[in-house]
Symmetry: C2
Subunit: 200 residues, 2 copies
């Protein structure tokens, strides 16, 4: 006989549906919220409810935003001659944290992956090409897709489309991660690090 | 400039407030829900909202339940002569999963912890004593608090209160976990395993 209240098992199930949340973690979170003040659970519920209502997609860079166009695309201080192409909104966050990149972005919302049935038509590729053709000031496209099979395929695909337009296409450097250990670097990373070696 | 929509950062913050959810996991969960169908986030929000509304505390065993008294306390098939005392509702779940224990429970909702300022008066100890005095059929109290400092202190405290009432007080066995490796067992567990050794 399962004697757990339905409201409890339901929340455990809901947490368990989230990626990376196993049954034990789902249980732990649920019982934590049971003990915590009611406001805690309610404020999480409210944040979830508002998540999609208050969010739009920027018609220019396709990133998620509060307003359309987004704050980055509207920002006059940013360098409009360079567009960094990424797979996901989280990648924009990661690049913004560096405080080094001052250009614009374009979010593809995925990568080409024949295994998962994702082709270029499922990504915001057309929007990128239209953008490049319409805005004459663009001089460089930085392909910042993930350094894995899907990301590489996507970058190669975009490179072949954009280069003929007479625009400089670059990619993020491959090499040893800073703070990493050469001993533990995989072969492909080491090969890329050797290929990309620079005079000091 | 932080360019992330407020609705997104708010949900990241809310997830991050949960125990064991770091900033990276909170981000990952939020962006997962952004991509997932709207119903997913809303159904989690609903489960959170209903969590406390539909839950009561059983006046007998102090466990969380849908009805008062709870399903276990109402169950006529269970052995009413034995009460297993646990710290949390999750412990009841764990013991129920064994399908071996057929007695009743008593949930303390915590353990004695002077460091955290939790004394016996913060636990459901009085309710346990009243229960033992009121119901004459009780012959055994199994102390199933956690095998750590707080759990041991709580068990010792309860033992001293209950034994004088002429009721058998037992504790869960300490020893090597099944499937574990003697080589990796800590010293205290090994000492307890030796103390509790049985003739075969």
């Amino acid at each position: 006989m399962d004697t757990t209240p339905r409201a409890v098992t339901r929340l455990i199930d809901e947490f368990h549906r989230l990626p990376g949340i196993g049954p034990k973690t789902a249980q732990r979170l649920t019982f934590y919220l049971l003990r915590a003040p009611k406001e805690h659970a309610l404020s999480l519920a409210e944040a979830l409810t508002q998540l999609k209502d208050k969010i739009v997609t920027c018609a220019i860079c396709q990133n998620i935003a509060e307003e359309n166009p987004c704050a980055i695309c509207r920002d006059d201080v940013r360098d409009r001659s360079i567009i960094c192409v990424v797979e996901e909104p989280l990648d924009v966050l990661a690049l913004e944290r560096t405080r080094e990149y001052r250009g614009l972005y374009h979010v593809l919302h995925g990568a080409i992956s024949p295994v998962d049935g994702i082709g270029p038509e499922d990504l915001r590729v057309q929007e990128l090409l239209t953008r490049i053709r319409r805005e004459p000031g663009i001089t460089e496209i930085v392909l910042a897709t993930n350094p894995n099979l899907e990301g590489e395929a996507t970058a190669m695909y975009l490179e072949r489309l954009i280069k003929p337009l007479g625009i400089r296409v670059t990619r993020l450097a491959r090499g040893l991660p800073v703070g990493g250990d050469l001993e533990y670097a995989d072969e492909v990373t080491l090969i890329r690090a050797l290929e990309g070696r620079r005079e000091v």
